[in-house]
């Protein structure tokens, strides 16, 4: 996975912020075609082949941000302003959530192992003796790999004392846990939607930015402008993503134009109660392990790839679904907007029907900047009584969901649990074996992203930083110093 701070994310945030800024100033239709030129000025030293290609990429990013599926709706002759006009007329559906820019794709060659100049052609030659396919040969005092026989096991890389063997991966394909990212016959990236579980790992792994999120932020932005009644339901991972406390973030959302804010932790509490009950009854009946059901990417993984786990999943709805119900109960005419770190939640939202929009933290960040909202300067709002569900804020971290279920289980029930901390290719393979060899635990907690939702594809801040800005329970010395910096001056 790419380091979070890089040129791509910077440009992306600039594009998003600029589009939103112009939208709220009512100048988007007039100015949208100028944005690519404004952001990539003549003087810029290009990182792609030329500034014109870079501008074209900005154009595509704007299209995806507006909600267009570039693969289907790309009309080169159509101006961005006509696209904007189109989006003002009608809202785009929540899925598909990813779209590809084939001209951005670098058509990376298939993944391979290569012997670099660091090879010293040593006497021991562990690569030669450990290669299971005998594909290492020596010539000119250096090792060579016979590509036609290499099975890409990586043994040679492991054993080389000089670190002379390098693995050159295809980042998007390697990131995908279910082999859904492929190259089409022209060599460019293509997503196999029958396999895709919407985890978003490919999008944050491509160093060329060729796989992009198709945003639905315009649906939300339009409602904000119309001053519709809107309820922001915020995922537990939001704490630590912005420079302020949870109470300040809540205030910032109200200042942005949302009518009310509900923490998804409140719905997570419901999820936990259901799961605790279900777990107890399964234990009594001795039917073996149960898995959590809060991770949407995992739910799709089961539907598409691991059907035998279907009845193992808890029947509880996700925290998002319960929270949306709460929001509608409090005001039946409200539009419910889920704000989280997750792309897969868009798919879930599309199937639920109670959610009117999904934003990622990264989109919210652009919204804050565009509306000039300084989270740190916000007064703390009253979060009201959170004691019931406060612990559910831990749902954002791997291990947190299981801990909350455990806490709500009847006393005397010993619950053993097994955490799936991130689903990568290897973990997906391990999970396949559960059909024959069930996990020896009562509760399996599944989080598709390593570390939990705080490492989701839509986050703003690295997990290492976010972790330290969250809650008070993880206090260690640097946290104090960081929090002091964040505290607004009296």
């Amino acid at each position: 996975m790419l380091e979070l701070n890089n040129q791509y994310t910077t440009i992306k945030r600039q594009v998003h912020t600029e589009v939103l800024k112009q939208f709220f100033q009512d100048t988007l239709v007039q100015n949208v075609d100028k944005i690519p030129i404004q952001l990539i000025p003549k003087q810029r030293i290009p990182t792609r082949c030329c500034i014109y290609k870079e501008r074209a990429m900005v154009r595509y990013r704007i299209m995806a941000f507006l909600g267009f599926d570039i693969e289907r709706e790309d009309d080169e002759m159509k101006s961005l302003s006509s696209y904007v006009q189109e989006i003002m007329e009608e809202d785009k559906p929540l899925s598909p959530l990813l779209t590809t820019i084939s001209t951005a794709c670098s058509s990376c060659p298939p993944d391979r192992y290569m012997i670099s100049d660091a090879c010293r052609g040593c006497f021991a030659r562990p690569c030669l003796s450990n290669c299971p396919k005998d594909c290492i040969t020596f010539s000119g005092g250096k090792a060579h790999i016979d590509e036609s026989r290499c099975i890409r096991c990586g043994k040679c890389m492991e054993v080389c004392p000089f670190h002379a063997v390098v693995h050159i991966p295809v980042p998007c394909e390697q990131a995908c846990p279910v082999d859904a990212v492929k190259k089409n016959e022209t060599g460019y990236v293509e997503i196999d939607w029958d396999r895709c579980i919407s985890c978003g790992k490919c999008a944050i792994s491509c160093p060329f930015g060729a796989i992009v999120e198709r945003s639905t932020i315009m649906t939300v932005a339009k409602k904000l402008k119309n001053r519709d009644h809107m309820t922001a339901i915020i995922a537990p991972a939001i704490e630590g993503q912005f420079p302020g406390t949870l109470a300040q973030i809540k205030h910032a959302l109200l200042a942005t134009g949302f009518t009310s804010v509900i923490e998804v932790s409140e719905g997570a509490h419901e999820t936990c109660l259901h799961e605790a009950e279900e777990l107890a009854s399964r234990k009594r009946e001795g039917t073996g392990f149960m898995t959590t059901s809060c991770c949407s990417a995992y739910m799709t993984l089961v539907d598409k790839h691991l059907p035998f786990l279907e009845n193992r999943r808890s029947s509880a709805l996700s925290p998002m679904a319960y929270t949306a119900m709460l929001a509608k109960e409090r005001n039946k005419d409200t539009s419910v907007i889920f704000i989280g770190p997750c792309l897969a939640k868009k798919d879930e939202a599309a199937s639920l029907g109670t959610i009117d929009g999904v934003l990622t933290f990264s989109e919210l960040a652009s919204l804050f900047v565009a509306k000039d909202i300084d989270v740190r300067e916000m007064d703390a709002t009253d979060l009201e009584d959170v004691s019931r569900f406060e612990d559910c804020r831990e749902f954002a971290l791997s291990g947190g969901a299981a801990a909350c279920v455990n806490k709500r289980a009847a006393i005397g029930d010993e619950i053993s649990f097994f955490p799936v901390n991130g689903i990568d290719r290897k973990m997906a393979r391990v999970m396949k074996t559960w059909e024959k060899r069930p996990v020896d635990a009562d509760l399996v907690e599944v989080m598709c992203c390593e570390g939990g939702c705080i490492n989701g594809p839509g986050v703003v801040v690295k997990p290492s930083v976010a972790l330290r800005l969250r809650g008070g329970n993880r206090a260690s010395s640097p946290v104090e110093a960081m929090r002091a910096i964040l505290k607004p001056k009296e």
Binding site: N5, F242, S362, V369, V375, V465, R468
Partner: protein
């Protein structure tokens, strides 16, 4: 020792800076050399207004060292700048 004044460092934690990489700078206790850290007086500030100044050639995140504003700050750059400022 003791005579030299501490270097005044202000990290911008306005939303625009924070979400464009500024959050990483808050880990300063981890990545700064202890000697440099001891010679600095580090504070957070809500907005240096760098992002609102059109004449500013560099982009967020911003930081102010002894009254001078620097942009596009990274952990590495900050290390270098502060090392120079402290040992000057």
């Amino acid at each position: 020792m003791g005579k030299k004044e501490k270097v005044s460092v202000r990290i911008c934690v306005g939303t625009a800076c924070f979400v464009q990489g500024g959050a990483d700078l808050l880990l300063y206790q981890d990545f700064l050399d202890p000697v440099v850290l001891a010679g600095c007086d580090i504070h957070g500030i809500s907005c240096i207004s760098g992002c609102k100044d059109d004449t500013m050639a560099v982009r967020p995140p911003y930081i102010e060292i002894d009254g001078k504003v620097f942009g596009e700050m990274t952990q590495d750059k900050l290390c270098k700048l502060l090392r120079e400022a402290v040992h000057a």
